[in-house]
Amino acid sequence: QNEERDGVRFSWNVWPSSRLEATRMVVPLACLLTPLKERPDLPPVQYEPVLCSRTTCKAILNPLCQVDYRAKLWACNFCFQRNQFPPAYTGISEVNQPAELMPQFSTIEYVIQRGAQSPLIFLYVVDTCLEEDDLQALKESLQMSLSLLPPDALVGLITFGRMVQVHELSCEGISKSYVFRGTKDLTAKQIQDMLGLTKPAMPMQQARPGQPHEQPFVSSRFLQPVHKIDMNLTDLLGELQRDPWPVTQGKRPLRSTGVALSIAVGLLEGTFPNTGARIMLFTGGPPTQGPGMVVGDELKVPIRSWHDIEKDNARFMKKATKHYEMLANRTATNGHCIDIYACALDQTGLLEMKCCANLTGGHMVMGDSFNTSLFKQTFQRIFSKDFNGDFRMAFGATLEVKTSRELKVAGAIGPCVSLNVKGPCVSENELGVGGTSQWKICGLDPTSTLGIYFEVVNQHNAPVPQGGRGAIQFVTQYQHSSTQRRIRVTTIARNWADAQSQLRHIEAAFDQEAAAVLMARLGVFRAESEEGPDVLRWLDRQLIRLCQKFGQYNKEDPTSFRLSDSFSLYPQFMFHLRRSPFLQVFNNSPDESSYYRHHFARQDLTQSLIMIQPILYSYSFHGPPEPVLLDSSSILAERILLMDTFFQIVIYLGETIAQWRKAGYQDMPEYENFKHLLQAPLDDAQEILQARFPMPRYINTEHGGSQARFLLSKVNPSQTHNNLYAWGQETGAPILTDDVSLQVFMDHLKKLAVSSA
């Protein structure tokens, strides 16, 4: 329905009409908004939006507004201000409506012609402390990427190792670079001074007043249009050498990631503030010196683990985190975004650096090596284009949320930072990043999705009139990849319902998928700052309360417990969420956790659900491929399973199948069907691999294979070594775990839900 049109999914599609009732709903009123959802059918309009004249409102004319065609007036549906149409609209009438008034244009995109268009900027920040073949692969990827960039985009190159080098481009005959010590943090001002970016001193200007300002070109030494210098840059990349400083045995190479990023940020800050720019950090290991160092260079001291963090034993973590947070905030302020491409077998400090990507809307990619297709293709995919031939990326967006007066905005969770804009529709309660009605999303793509949380502020004693509708308007201003400024406006409305009299309506309008994701985001958001067990307990409590509220049961009788269809899957989502890497850190490194959480906070609903509850397909001779329960009982000897956890694609051959394959049946003409069976999941996996960003880890394993653990850790452990009754039955594979199974979980849930305590 209107998810397609507007990219919005609400947890509740009928809204409880008072604050009290809303809180009793347990799951907050919230929505998942995909601001730039691809809309092939939505051509942008080439004029500017009409704004409500009330300065505190400034809502944009939309289909929900009352229009008086005679008087050429329109009433704002948020503040009820009556506004004149601007002169250009003199011709409107019922039959001649501007697009923004047509109901099918509840989402509309304006192109703003004003303002100088500045080209996109791509600043590569490349780690040179890599193994030779890794570096080679990375160099090739980078060189390849030059051909994918828009020709007029500006590119820059910073390399780092023990030192940080800012390369000057477009030098003939000699390659120049500015070098910085990797151990010293510099202010933006210092960096600009040192790079010679500061504007010429006043006297100089006075001396030659007649001269045009050359400022735009000041930075040109470091950032040049691709089409001009791609040869140079290709050569430059080709000549890149591994960091030459010797690394003695037992040491990590000295890697000045912190300073390199700082310089990248400082460089752009000084030269192109508020212009779309990507800082792309490619790193092959943890920062080992200077500000932002994550681990010392002694190999015998391992990088921090969750264990260390819990014991408060991670020496550098706090300082490093602070450094990167500071950088991330500065970057966000300038409207630039930072991507992190970290490829190493060990951790690379994503935990500390995560905010750089999280706060600026940058990508985070984690791989084992730059020399893998995972990295290569993922990287390539960044520059993929949409049906219009435009890059799937946008920059420097500002999202503004306007609500009708019964609602207030409590916060947002996603790749954004607060702009701290207080307004009448800002709630005092915060959920996620709150206290504002505007957020900055420095980098976003068509799938970037924010969770936005609202609060019903209407008092119980002042009910909303029957049939009244609440409205919300999302205004996203951004720089399109074609460098145009655009504004996308989505205005939606939902009915109010009295929770006491119309609970059924509300219940039926519950979107359990959206709700699960929204709750999960809240949980993950909390997990960043709170202890894991507390978050789990909070989630459990919420679930129990929800079941208590909406379940049908007899008190103290767990067996009588039933949930309606619209809620039936929700507990299962919660079960898997509890086991997911987003909330469980066991078996994950801090970097992995950060990586998973990063993606969870920005993917759209479908992908998020996959992350929470992976999808399992079964392939067998018994019929066409079918989805099966994510349960150990699904693991059968004669099946091939395909699991998609978003981050991994696992193909698992059952015991028998594996034996057959080993025996080589697939190569025998008479068993061609077996060959096809083997091939089917591969094809499907390819399909997923092709489309997803970042590219998942592709695992092809079989029964008893070591990599089968990826599958076994995800399925519901309905059979374990503890419940022996399962043994001997042909029902699946036991999982060696102490985790509770879904059945046990549900039993407990029912018990708790029905208990009156």
Partner: protein, 1096 residues
């Protein structure tokens, strides 16, 4: 020997010329032969092969005497040496009372004599008079009389050996000689001696008077070989005793007899003769009576003075009342004499305490156990035994050491000794290195340290039997047992971090700010470097230099270049973080030239282009040095930075400077601040550089004040050089700069050096001057040391010295050669010790003394007002001379100025020091110039200071074009210029061609290719290349002058009466200077006054 002495008696001899011929021979040659000495020596000599033979030359001189053969003595260094010394010593003794002896040197005195020759020679002498005179020159100045001639004992040490030589020289010296010849030269000389002996001595002294006469002769010019003869004899006499250190035993004989010192006298006298002789007779003491005879005393002396003038007679009539400039000691004369007397025979170093020929003399050195004077020169070669004596004399005891001095091609560089794993053999207690003075005892199983007397075991692998004289059988096979200078290969224990060093590196750091670009410097330099890099210093026969090179350019940021051979094009790395300098790359910064040639060439091509339109005017400085130092540190090697810098570093960075030039401070108590660095940052930096073995050479191209005082701190403390090219213009200064650069880059350097001077018990090195750093009181640390740098060391007594054993110096320099080899260079020098002040005065070297005093004064200006410094110098000089007058000179009228023969130039040279830009700046001298000169002088050697303070003035058109030799110099005074001539003036830094207004047109045409004087461009710096003998000759001469100096001298053509002439006149140091410096004559009077004050 004795014989000779006996001779003394000889007054007769002496007198009669014959005598002296005989004398000579006899004394030297003869004696040696005869006397015991031979034996001991014999042995000695034996070893020294080379030496022995030489004789011939010497001989030649000593013609007459059959004995001559012995004369060979000269050659037989040892033997002779002994003699010589004896001779001298003796002389003095004898005369003790009389004291003054004039030695041949005396002869020199002649020169001096001219001055105020108040000679008080005994009547007797008179005839000879002249000769004796040589001894002292008394000049009567207007007020005073100078007796320039001190007659030091005979031919000083130097003679010792080659006494003959010396003698000869002496004789030669006299220009007068000519006269001599005619004269009964012989007589004169002899006389003096005779007298001395006789006891008549006192009177004899008088000889000096002759001096005056001499002068005149001088003019005569001719030198008489004959002279020598006589002189010698004289010397012979005196000689005997003293000095012979070793020899002592043998020689002993005679020394005694002579006891008296004769003044080597004779020599000089001759000159006078002609005119004077007569005079002499008349005269009595001081009076030179000759002319004056009539005149009464000195008192009248004044008048006398003039008289002198007159006497010289030849010369002419000077206005009465004025001291005749020709009558006062002339540097030119002294130099010429020494050149003639000592230049022709090698200087053999086998005998201790010999005074070497003057630095202006060309001579060969044969190392027979003492370091060549090219390596070490001392202010005195005979030092007082006690500190009381030393204090009384006030003569500074100092050695000017040039450890890596370049040698002429004829002299072999020091042998390298490799003792393998165990390293050089050293004394266990004082750590002195094995040297020829170590005594082996107990059949060779042990040796006694000659410095601290500690008995050490001889390691088995070093054991060797001794011969009957107690010498090791292998002594002559081992450089460390037979030579004064040699090198040891150092073991790993002598290396930093116990690791053998890597080959050093050169880093070129080029200022590319606006000024440097605009002046064309950068382009010029880059072009030159391309070819210059092929000439990096290499060791021995190495095919290519082991030195690696690196490049940095900078303005207010630094640009490093990666010129790794594998790169297609150079990479530039900019470091803007000047506050916290670091080196951005490791690999590819320092490269081997031949491997990376293509990349380097491409880089050097591009540097001028890259910065062609720079507008950056600000520069940094300290960070540049820091960067170079860090680069060397990263590469773990020592090396040298070549900095090419243009302006005051005012950019925000460590070591930032402000313009603090303030001429108002001159002559105030704050003047010293102009010489002090602005900030302590550079000292700290220099210290780090030294620790890393990073030597800094600075080339400055200032257009205005750059604060040389501060910028030169690092080069100064790291053993580097500073070159300054004010207002650099490619067209005008290119040749000078490139020539300096080439030389600087190509010269052999020792890196990361530590020098230590050990002395025998009794004296101690207490103070050091030069370009280096000291972190404690004994070790001189030099990040780099080249063959032009000297370290001056001052010694003080801390105990009594022994006359018998003398005083030993051992200078050990540990350094890394340019191929990265760690070595120890050892120089040993033995000096005599004396209990008689006269011996001290007889063995001094004025040039070295001036070198020391200038350095002392130039350091003094850092802490005291310039006026104080000058007064101190004058006082010290007065004390030295007064002490001589009081203790060594023959009694004479107080009005007479009596100068020791060896120091008769002290006043004129000292005056030059006092008038130098540092101590008395003229109006046109900038603060930077003064600071520049100040630091230059600090590491100058004796030859450089000599010409620097007393420039050479060469008439070009006086001598026939055909003559191949350098024309004889004339004194640096305007009076000596004739407007019909052309002169060259050089002082080691500047070179002027002065053209008189009435020079013949033909000359103008052939030199300048213009038709008349007025068409000559004033300030011209290049002579046109013309194909005529005169032009060729002049240009050849200029080239040869340049070749003699360590820095290229830019030529400036000055026309008489032109405004540039002011500049030129500044260098006519005998004249009154515009800035208030006294003329020579005035200063001499002043000096005399001071001395009289001290005496009274």
């Amino acid at each position: 020997m004795n014989v000779n002495q006996s001779a003394p008696p000889l007054p007769p001899f002496g007198q009669s010329q014959p005598v002296y011929p005989g004398y000579h021979p006899s004394s030297y040659g003869g004696q040696p032969g005869s006397t015991a000495p031979p034996t001991p020596y014999g042995a000695y000599n034996g070893p020294v092969p080379g030496c022995q033979q030489t004789p011939p030359p010497g001989v030649s001189r000593a013609p007459p005497s059959s004995e001559a053969p012995p004369a060979s003595t000269a050659q037989a260094p040892s033997g002779q040496a002994a003699y010589g010394q004896f001779g001298q010593g003796d002389v003095q003794n004898g005369p003790s009372s009389t004291v003054q002896m004039q030695r041949f040197p005396g002869s020199q005195p002649f020169g001096s004599i001219p001055l105020a020759p108040v000679v008080s020679q005994p009547t007797v002498l008179q005839p000879y008079g002249p000769p004796p005179t040589s001894a002292q020159v008394t000049a009567q100045l207007a007020g005073m009389q100078i007796s320039g001639a001190v007659a030091p004992a005979l031919p000083p040490v130097g003679l010792g050996y080659g006494p003959p030589t010396s003698l000869a020289s002496a004789s030669g010296s006299f220009p007068n000689s000519g006269l001599y010849g005619s004269y009964p030269q012989g007589q004169a000389p002899p006389l003096s001696q005779a007298q001395g002996h006789l006891g008549a001595q006192p009177p004899q002294r008088s000889a000096p008077p002759q001096a005056s006469s001499f002068t005149s002769p001088a003019s005569g010019g001719p030198r008489m070989p004959s002279m020598t003869g006589p002189l010698l004899s004289g010397q012979g006499f005196g000689g005997p005793s003293l000095s012979q250190p070793n020899h002592v035993s043998s020689p002993p004989p005679q020394a005694l007899p002579p006891g008296t010192q004769m003044t080597g006298p004779p020599g000089p006298p001759p000159p006078m003769h002609s005119s004077q002789q007569p005079g002499y007779q008349l005269q009595q003491n001081g009076s030179f009576g000759p002319a004056r005879g009539p005149q009464p005393n000195y008192g009248s002396s004044y008048p006398g003075a003039p008289t002198f003038g007159s006497q010289p007679g030849p010369p002419q009539p000077l206005p009465p009342k004025r001291l005749d400039p020709d009558a006062i000691p002339s540097p030119i004369q002294v130099i010429e004499d020494d050149r003639n007397n000592r230049g022709s025979e090698p200087f053999v170093t086998g005998v201790r305490g010999q005074v070497p020929p003057l630095v202006t003399t060309n001579f060969l050195v044969k190392d027979q156990g003492n370091a060549s004077p090219r390596y070490i020169r001392c202010t005195s070669y005979n030092i007082p035994c006690t500190s009381d004596m030393a204090k009384q004399a006030q003569v500074p005891l100092a050695a000017v050491i040039k450890p890596l001095a370049r040698l002429p091609p004829e002299e072999a560089s020091p042998y390298v000794v490799d003792h393998g794993e165990s390293g050089p053999l050293r004394c266990n207690r004082c750590k002195a290195y094995m040297c020829p003075f170590m005594q082996f005892v107990e059949g060779g199983r042990r040796f006694q340290c000659c410095f601290c007397s500690c008995i050490n075991d001889v390691p088995p692998q070093y054991f060797q039997h001794l011969d009957h004289t107690g010498k090791r059988v292998d002594a002559y096979d081992r450089p460390e047992l037979s030579l004064g200078s040699y090198e040891f290969l150092a073991t790993v224990d002598y290396c930093k971090n116990n690791k053998f060093p890597s080959p050093p590196a050169f880093i070129f750091m080029i200022d590319v700010s606006y000024n440097a670009i605009r002046s064309g410097l950068v382009r010029l330099l880059c072009e030159e470097l391309k070819s210059l890099l092929d000439f990096l210093p290499r060791e021995g026969g190495a095919e290519e230099s082991a030195i690696r090179v690196g490049f940095v350019t900078y303005n207010k940021v630094l640009h490093f270049y990666n010129v790794k051979s594998s790169l297609a094009q150079p990479q530039m790395m900019v470091v803007s973080d000047v506050a916290d300098m670091f080196v951005p790359l490791l690999d590819g910064f320092l490269v081997n030239v031949s491997e990376s040639r293509a990349v380097i060439t491409s880089l050097l091509d591009q540097i001028p282009e890259m910065f062609a339109d720079t507008r950056e005017t600000e520069t940094v400085f300290a960070p540049v040095i820091q960067a170079g130092m860090e680069a060397l540190k990263a590469a773990e090697c020592a090396g040298k930075l070549f900095l090419f810098h243009t302006s005051l570093p005012i950019a925000e960075a460590p070591g930032k400077l402000k313009n603090r030039d303030d001429r108002k401070l001159i002559n105030t108590d704050k003047e010293k601040t102009l010489f002090q660095p602005q900030t302590g940052a550079y000292q700290t930096l220099a210290k780090e550089c030294v620790a890393q073995g990073c030597c800094v050479d600075l080339f400055l191209f200032p257009n205005q004040y750059v604060d040389v005082a501060t910028l030169s701190v690092v080069p100064q403390l790291t053993g580097g050089s500073v070159y300054k090219y004010a207002c650099f213009q490619v067209e005008n200064d290119q040749e000078r700069f490139l020539s300096d650069l080439r030389r600087d880059v190509q010269k052999v350097v020792g890196f990361d050096a530590v020098m230590r001077v050990r002395t025998s018990t009794g004296i101690r090195a207490v103070d050091f001057f030069g370009a280096f750093y000291m972190s404690n009181t004994t070790d001189v640390e030099l990040a780099g040391l080249d063959g032009d740098k000297t370290v001056t060391v001052e010694f003080k007594h801390d105990d009594r010295l022994n006359e018998e054993s003398g005083a030993l110096l051992q200078c050990a320099l540990l350094y890394t050669s340019c191929a990265g080899q760690r070595r120890l260079r050892i120089h040993n020098l033995a000096l005599n010790c004396c209990t008689q002040l006269a011996d001290l005065y007889r063995n001094c070297e004025t040039d070295t003394l001036i070198n020391y005093m200038a350095k002392f004064a130039y350091r003094g200006v850092l802490n005291s007002p310039v006026k104080t410094v000058r007064d101190t110098l004058i006082t010290q000089c007065a004390q030295i001379l007064a002490c001589y007058r009081k203790n060594c000179a023959s009694p004479s009228s107080a009005g007479q100025l009596i100068l020791p023969e060896c120091m008769k130039l002290l006043p004129v040279y000292l005056n030059c020091v006092l008038k130098s830009d540092v101590l008395q700046p003229g109006a046109e001298v900038t603060t930077d110039d003064r600071a520049y000169v100040r630091q230059l002088v600090t590491s100058m050697d004796v030859a450089e200071t000599n010409v620097f303070f007393y420039p050479r003035l060469l008439p070009l058109t006086k001598s026939p074009i055909e003559s191949a030799t350098e024309p004889p110099a004339v004194r640096a005074s305007e009076e000596r210029l004739s407007n019909g001539d052309i002169y060259l003036l050089e002082n080691g830094l500047n070179l002027f061609l002065w053209v008189g207004a009435s020079v013949q047109q033909g000359v103008v045409q052939s030199l300048f290719s213009v038709s008349s004087f007025s068409q000559i461009t004033s300030g011209l710096s290049v002579l046109p290349v013309l194909d005529n003998p005169l032009s060729k000759k002049v240009r050849g001469l200029i080239d040869s002058l340049r070749a003699q100096r360590s820095r290229y001298m830019k030529l400036i053509v000055v026309k008489q009466e032109d405004k540039l002439e002011m500049l030129f006149k500044h260098f006519l140091v005998e004249d009154k200077s515009l800035s208030g410096g006294a003329s020579y004559v005035d200063f001499l009077c002043h000096m005399h006054k001071e001395i009289r004050q001290l005496l009274s």
